[in-house]
Symmetry: C2
Subunit: 224 residues, 2 copies
């Protein structure tokens, strides 16, 4: 399955500015991206980075400097849009069949594992639209195979996407995953990376001196 | 599967004191308990409330006023303890076999659904110890069938329980669930209940005037 991974090169992870410098945020964001790309590939997906600017990564990269919603919808237009399906060279076998499902997985899902991504793919083969919600009702990952599905990432987008699916008559399912539900935006999210992360992002944090701190009851991170 | 649901009747949900009165917190905690008991039962489990004081609930209730770790370990002693296995009347069929798995599911998992609990049970039949981690590394639910497994809920207990499993030579697995990973402790958690809850707790919040608020970027709740 083709998996689009949107990645912003400007103002990376701005909500971590209190604990990481700009250069550190860039490096950490890149470590998370690499973890996500590996998890997608190990789950059998074909990752394609959709970046706001050039990225030096050993994978397919498309640059689109528009905001997230517009850039993802352009990618969906190209892949799911009914009018383009018959003109896609890779779609020769089934020019008039339903579109192949396409996935969009955020680049900051530092807890993503191949098993979690496989569950997303599997759900995506069983419904027209499946979403892995993030904390706060975001849309951390989805798979769509309905030609009319488009995104709107503003606000509680999980609810909006469920509503959009209903409006276009698409089957909808949620993927119940703590790993896919954890997007790393704020300092508190770093604890999740240290607890559950198995890749570069967790290693990067440890090498930068971050450690878990349970002294205040709720588990947080401290930097040594 | 027998499922112990610990429930504290004193100081219910104290971290919600800024947004709910004591009576409201009691009512909301009780709505969450009822949702959890229903989800466990609908998943084929046999729920048993382990309460710090008497609770008027139409299910089996054991009162144990000790702290959570001590009360849960006493329950595990009675069910898994090697020395007690042969004396348990319900264990006549297999007096010398491995203990039946027993689950412990927290009473504040307001997003729990039968499907999520079924995944917990299924994982629990395939490993000696399985844990559904909560945000911050807590242990929101677990299933154990190893006679030596005991809990310690202090701090990042998910990591401690994984370590305990390793020390006693028990297979360990995690259950990757956003629903089971969401324990409702703080005001921000209420947004999760409004977004994903399907039971009494979500209804209670709506009737108390709570609604989602996405005006500030991150989704929170407001009370009308």
């Amino acid at each position: 399955m083709e998996v689009i991974v949107p990645f912003s090169t400007d103002r990376p992870k701005s909500r971590l500015a209190d604990v990481l410098s700009l250069d550190e945020r860039s490096a950490f964001a890149r470590a998370m991206l690499d973890d996500v790309l590996d998890a997608v590939e190990d789950a059998g997906g074909e990752p394609r980075v959709l970046a706001t600017d050039a990225v030096d990564v050993d994978r397919s990269v498309t640059v689109d400097d528009r905001l997230l919603t517009a850039a993802v919808n352009a990618a969906l237009d190209a892949r799911l849009g009914a009018e383009t399906a018959s003109s896609r060279p890779e779609n020769d076998a089934e020019p008039d069949g339903p579109p192949e499902p396409v996935a969009v997985v955020m680049a900051d899902l530092a807890l993503a594992t191949p098993a979690a991504v496989e569950r997303l793919f599997e759900a995506g083969r069983g419904a027209d639209v499946v979403v892995a919600p993030g904390r706060g009702g975001g849309t951390n990952a989805f798979v769509a195979s309905h030609p009319e599905f488009r995104v709107d990432y503003h606000g509680a987008s999980y609810l909006d996407h469920r509503e959009i699916a209903a409006e276009i008559g698409a089957d909808f399912a949620a993927v119940d995953s703590h790993r896919l539900g954890t997007d790393v935006d704020e300092p508190a999210d770093l604890a999740e990376v240290l607890i559950h992360g198995e890749g570069r992002a967790a290693t990067w944090l440890r090498e930068a001196g971050f450690a878990l701190d349970a002294s205040e009851g709720r588990v947080t991170v401290v930097r040594e």
